[in-house]
């Protein structure tokens, strides 16, 4: 029986400083919300301050690679490694941007007396995602997914009185509950087959004793259900359009970036750690011959992107269109994993940074327009080009970037993804993805046609955009344009972050 020394606890706690910082921020928001009952203006800035401290802790320990609270030799529940830290930076960074979104969003301002809850729940989501990207144990995976989900169910229905908000949260909670229940059943089977819930332990057990068979495949696929739900991959995507359309725009933007990133981090870690046999010098992974992940993921990803892109063509609501486009992007991102190589993972990381900026930027413009016009219908965007030139041009750049055309950052993201595919000699898949991009060009350009070419008879007055909004949009535009031309630092950063603990 091991005795737990104080030193052991201190060593473990030192490694989870970012999570501790988020927890303290959460508690602080609750307390400040209670004390300063009348004035809630400072809450978001306290939250941002807390997240900046969190970011500092992540950057300081960026290249550490070890287990927090190691319970026996090289086994633990929480991993701290560059891969996880990369995603933590992505999540914390996008959280800061989304908090600024919330400050200027009308939907959130309406619930002024519930601002405290809003930010507390967001902190809960961040905590869940942090543990999701760093978990090496099925128990922790389940608990952190639930922590993330429970907070986001409530946030999706934040404006209590709007019909579509309530509907979005109901659909989210039902679909989410089912998918995590199915995952739990898969975990229980996997536990029964291997006798362990630790991914590293399961890997070594499977390598030693060759537990093949239908049950093992089944448990892996059941676990994939909840992860596929989080990243909105094809058979589990049906909640995405409804929830994205119904939820307040800042939360929609947040779900499309942070929660998707956490899901991808978890999927990559689960597939790589549980099923890896060896990594060859070229960075290609050799997985155990249990589940044919390569074929499976290729099928899922082609299904996802085709479905997302073709369904987006018929959409008339901007949020719904962006929801389908985010499904399609999940499909592209899955291709990076299907390559099963370090190069593919680097491509995913690059794509995520780029996707974060361009997607958040697009949602930001949509939100500012919706604040002014009170609509998200694409038909109401007619003639916007002359009424609000800056907003229109910004939206145009974000949409072009989402398509993946040069000289925007979206092109770089797609370029590295396709390079990884070609290097792995998956030309056919690359061609299908390329054709999908062409389809996506149609619906993005359709929005631009409404903005710049269609004229609207009434309501042609110019509307002013506040200085803070212009600065905010410019801040989102800069990386989208700069990374399109000068992308070496981004690529180097991604390549330095692909190291998973142990491999």
């Amino acid at each position: 029986m091991n005795t737990i020394s104080l030193q052991y606890l201190v060593d473990g706690l030192k490694l989870i400083k970012p999570e501790i910082a988020v927890t303290i921020t959460l508690v602080l928001i609750v307390i400040v919300d209670l004390i300063m009952n009348k004035n809630k203006r400072y809450l978001p800035y306290i939250f941002i301050g807390g997240l900046v401290v969190t970011l500092y802790f992540i950057v300081v320990q960026f290249s550490t690679s070890s287990f927090a609270f190691e319970f026996s030799k090289n086994l633990g529940m929480v991993i701290v490694d560059p891969f996880g830290n990369f995603f933590k930076i992505l999540i914390a960074g996008s959280s800061i941007i989304v908090i600024l979104f919330s400050v200027i969003s009308n939907e959130i301002k309406e619930g002024v007396d519930r601002q405290g809850e809003y930010y507390v729940l967001m902190a809960g989501m961040i905590l869940g995602m942090f543990f999701m990207v760093s978990s090496a144990d099925l128990i922790l995976i389940y608990v952190s997914i639930e922590l993330l989900s429970l907070s986001s169910y409530v946030l999706a229905g934040f404006s209590k009185h709007a019909l579509r908000n309530s509907e979005a949260s109901l659909k989210y909670v039902i679909y989410g509950g089912i998918s995590s229940g199915i995952m739990l059943f898969g975990i229980s089977i996997l536990y029964g087959l291997t006798g362990s819930t630790n991914l590293y332990e399961i890997n070594s057990l499977v390598q030693a004793s060759q537990v093949h068979g239908f049950t093992f495949v089944l448990s892996g696929l059941l676990i994939f259900v909840a992860i596929g739900f989080k990243i909105s991959a094809a058979p589990f995507h049906f909640w995405t359009p409804d929830v994205y359309e119904g939820a307040p725009i800042p939360i929609t933007a947040y779900l499309s970036i942070a929660s998707k990133a956490a899901g991808f981090a978890l999927l990559i870690r689960f597939v790589k750690i549980t099923f890896i046999q060896s990594v060859d010098p070229n960075g290609f992974w050799h997985l155990l011959n249990i589940i044919d992940w390569k074929t499976f993921i290729i099928i899922i990803s082609i299904l996802t992107m085709t479905l997302g892109n073709f369904a987006a063509i018929w959409q008339n609501n901007m949020k719904r269109l962006l929801a389908y486009s985010s499904i399609a992007h999940a499909g592209y991102l899955l291709l990076g994993l299907a390559v099963l190589s370090n190069e593919g993972i680097a491509a995913i990381l690059i794509y995520f940074v780029v996707y974060g900026f361009m997607n958040l930027g697009a949602f930001l413009v949509v939100m500012i327009i919706s604040n002014k016009l009170g609509t998200e219908e694409i038909d109401d965007y007619d003639g916007l080009g002359s009424r609000a030139p800056f907003l229109s041009v910004a939206l145009a750049i974000f949409l072009v970037s989402l398509t993946g055309l040069p000289p925007t950052a979206g092109f770089i993201g797609k370029l590295y993804l396709f390079l990884a595919l070609v290097d792995a000699k998956m030309i056919a898949v690359a061609v299908i993805a390329l054709l999908n991009t062409v389809v996506s060009l149609y619906y993005y350009v359709r929005v631009l046609k409404h903005i710049f070419l269609n004229e609207k008879a009434e309501g042609t007055a110019e509307f002013a955009t506040s200085v803070s909004s212009v600065v905010f949009i410019a801040l989102m535009l800069t990386p989208v344009l700069i990374f399109g031309i000068y992308f070496t630092p981004l690529v180097d950063f991604a390549k330095s972050s692909i190291a998973l603990m142990g491999f």
Partner: protein
């Protein structure tokens, strides 16, 4: 007759199937939530049975405890959302709540 692992697995699989069946066929949001609870409990039975009969240590039982707690939290949140739905739509029939459509 000795009660063994297989008996537990049969019960848990039956519960899981009943849960899925309930989710698919019921139209009342509360009934759908009950189906989800059945799924969670079927997994719990699996965890406890495997931990008991496989001599795997305490991980399975710890997991079951976590699941019980999270199921309670999820039920609380889901019921609050259903209550909110009832206030805005005056119905809890999931088929009638479809203002968001293609």
């Amino acid at each position: 007759m000795q009660v063994g692992l297989n008996h537990f697995l049969v019960i848990s699989t039956a519960l899981f199937s009943l849960g899925i069946f309930g989710i698919v066929t019921r139209r009342n949001a509360v009934m759908v939530l009950m189906g989800i609870e059945l799924i969670l409990n079927s997994a719990n039975i699996n965890f406890i049975a495997f931990a008991r009969f496989g001599n795997f240590g305490l991980q399975g039982q710890v997991m079951a405890l976590f699941v019980i707690i999270l199921a309670a939290a999820e039920a609380a949140i889901a019921l609050a959302i259903v209550l909110n739905i009832y206030k805005t739509f005056s119905t809890v029939n999931v088929d009638e709540i479809d203002t968001l459509k293609d």
